[in-house]
Every structure is written in structure tokens, then in C-alpha cells.
Subunit: 179 residues, 2 copies
């Protein structure tokens, strides 16, 4: 006799995302996620293969949000700023996407592409079609590296980190601009 579902994959992934930010990856346990969505841990296995796959889904949700935040932007500096805003809004998820541990299955390529589209478009304008991919990789690598370092406390030598960000944005955008 079928029973109405008490939760959903979507609710599970959202609970996992929230838990990740609030308590960190180590506290993202199956029992904790289950508790948030109102079931017991074994029930989660009806909707996700295992914990590592759930973590992959969190990564994909994060990339989807990044893509949405970058969608429609036309200015390279503004794009970089929005990239950084995601890092500040979801620091743990950002770090997870930057360096998923061994054992976590690779994200579906579609999610990475969604996050890459706007960057490629803007870089094609700035650098020309033939350098668009190299320029996008340069810009993305710098943004991702800066935000990661900022989030994990790698900038310890004082100075103004916001100023360093603006310095970097200006120089990098100029560096990948055709001319």
C-alpha cells in the first residue's frame, strides 16, 4: 500500500547544503541530514546512493547557484565580484567544489558548464575568440584561488584584502584584454 512520501531528494540536498555551511563537512552525517528532513538515516538511501554521492549533489547545487549568479553579467569585474560573493555566501560549499576529497564522484559536466558560460562569453569579447578559453581559465583560476585563500586564512601578512582583490581584478582584466 503506497504511502505519501515524507521527504524528497530536493529537501535532502538543501538540508545537506545548510548543514555543510552551519556545521562543516565532518558534521554532514547521514543521521544529521535525515533528522533535518524528518526521517531516519536509512531512509535517505531510497533517494541517494550514499554519502559521497550526496556530497556530489551539494557540489552540483553550488555550481548551479554560481551559474545563476553569473548569468547575464556583461562586465568582467562585475563577474569576478559575483564569483567572490558566492564564496562569501557559501564558504564551505565553495571550498568543497574547489577541492573535493578522494572518493567523491566527479560532478556532472553540465553543472560546471552552466557556471562557465558567462565567463567564456565575456572572455571572448575581451580577449578575442582565439584566446577566449585561455583567458577564461586565467580569470577563473585567479578568482577561485583568491577566494579560496581568503576563505581558508591564507592571507595573513596584513594589508587590505579587499584592496588586493581590486588590484587583482584590475590587473587581470587588463591582462586578458586583447591589444
Amino acid at each position: 500500500m503506497p504511502t505519501p512520501d515524507r521527504t524528497s531528494l530536493d529537501a535532502i540536498v538543501r538540508a545537506a547544503c545548510d548543514l555543510l555551511e552551519e556545521e562543516g563537512l565532518a558534521s554532514l552525517t547521514m543521521a544529521a541530514v535525515a533528522s533535518r528532513v524528518g526521517v531516519r538515516a536509512p531512509s535517505l538511501y531510497k533517494r541517494v546512493r550514499d554519502r559521497n554521492t550526496l556530497i556530489r549533489l551539494v557540489e552540483e547545487a553550488t555550481l548551479a547557484e554560481l551559474g545563476a549568479r553569473l548569468d547575464g553579467v556583461h562586465d568582467a569585474a562585475e563577474l569576478a565580484n559575483r564569483y567572490r560573493a558566492l564564496g562569501h555566501a557559501r564558504p564551505a560549499a565553495f571550498q568543497l567544489v574547489m577541492a573535493p576529497g578522494a572518493g567523491i564522484p566527479p560532478v556532472d559536466e553540465q553543472y560546471r558548464q552552466a557556471a562557465t558560460e558567462s565567463i567564456l562569453r565575456i572572455c571572448a569579447e575581451l580577449a578575442g575568440e582565439e584566446h577566449a578559453l585561455d583567458a577564461a581559465r586565467t580569470l577563473t583560476a585567479w578568482c577561485a584561488g583568491f577566494i579560496s585563500m581568503e576563505l581558508n586564512g591564507s592571507f595573513q601578512l596584513g594589508g587590505d584584502v579587499d584592496r588586493a582583490w581590486e588590484f587583482g581584478v584590475e590587473r587581470i582584466v587588463a591582462a586578458i584584454t586583447r591589444g
Copy 2:
């Protein structure tokens, strides 16, 4: 009655580093490390506070190695290439340093400084003293971001990744050079 030691902190950290690269962070268990150095897991607690602290020691060893690899370099492109070489030699440790999980105590600042010295020196030459720190952060962020993305499979759109690296090195070094 004292007994000759059967292992040492140094051997433990080295075993942990090796295990991290060979099997990944999830397989870096106290039992596995203990087995490599010839004791049982509880004995490790005589030399390290807990697993997270052991992981911190692995991070510090990695930063020390990075510092050694960058020591004495005088060319910015060569410095970037050596940075990347460490990422290729110790991918798991590199990713760990880039995004340590929650719960792992912060590395001692001394180790980060050792890795930063050469970068600051070169950037001061290129960008002038007043922009040295901003320039170092720009260069480091780009290197770290590029290498991280390369290691975790973020570059999936084809093209030649080595070419993208060389494009980036050239443009970034030019971008932070005084002028």
C-alpha cells in the same frame, strides 16, 4: 624502565604524507599510519594530539616543501612553474592545503611565511615595494587556483592545459610588472 622508541613524530608525519598521496585523505586513518610505522594506533597519541592535528602537520610539511622548492628562485615564471611542480608531485597534499576541512587546526604561520618569502621578494622587484603584497597575492592566487582546478578536473572544455598555463604565466607576470 625506559624502552627504546619504536617510532618518531617525523616517521609518523612522513607515513601520513605518503598515505595521503597513495590512498587519499579518507584512507589516512590512525590505524593505517600506525601500521606503516610499525606500532598500533593508540601509540600514535603519545606523539600527536589527534588525527586532525596530524593532518595539520602534513599541511605544514607540504608548505615547508613548497618553501624549499621556491627558495632562491629569481624569475617569476620559474617560480610559478615550481609552484605547479609541487602540485603535480603532491596533488592530495596540495589540495589539502588549499582547502582544509573544518576541524583541522590552522597551520603555524611560520610555515606559510616560508612559502611566501620568495614570492614576496620577486614581486617587490617586479611591482615595486608599494605593490609587492598585492602583486604577490595576485600571482599566488592565480597559481594556486590554476593548479587546484587542474588537479580536481575543473578544466573539461578541451584545449591544451599546458598552453593555458603558459598563457596565464605570461599575462599575469606582465600584469603585475611596474609600468
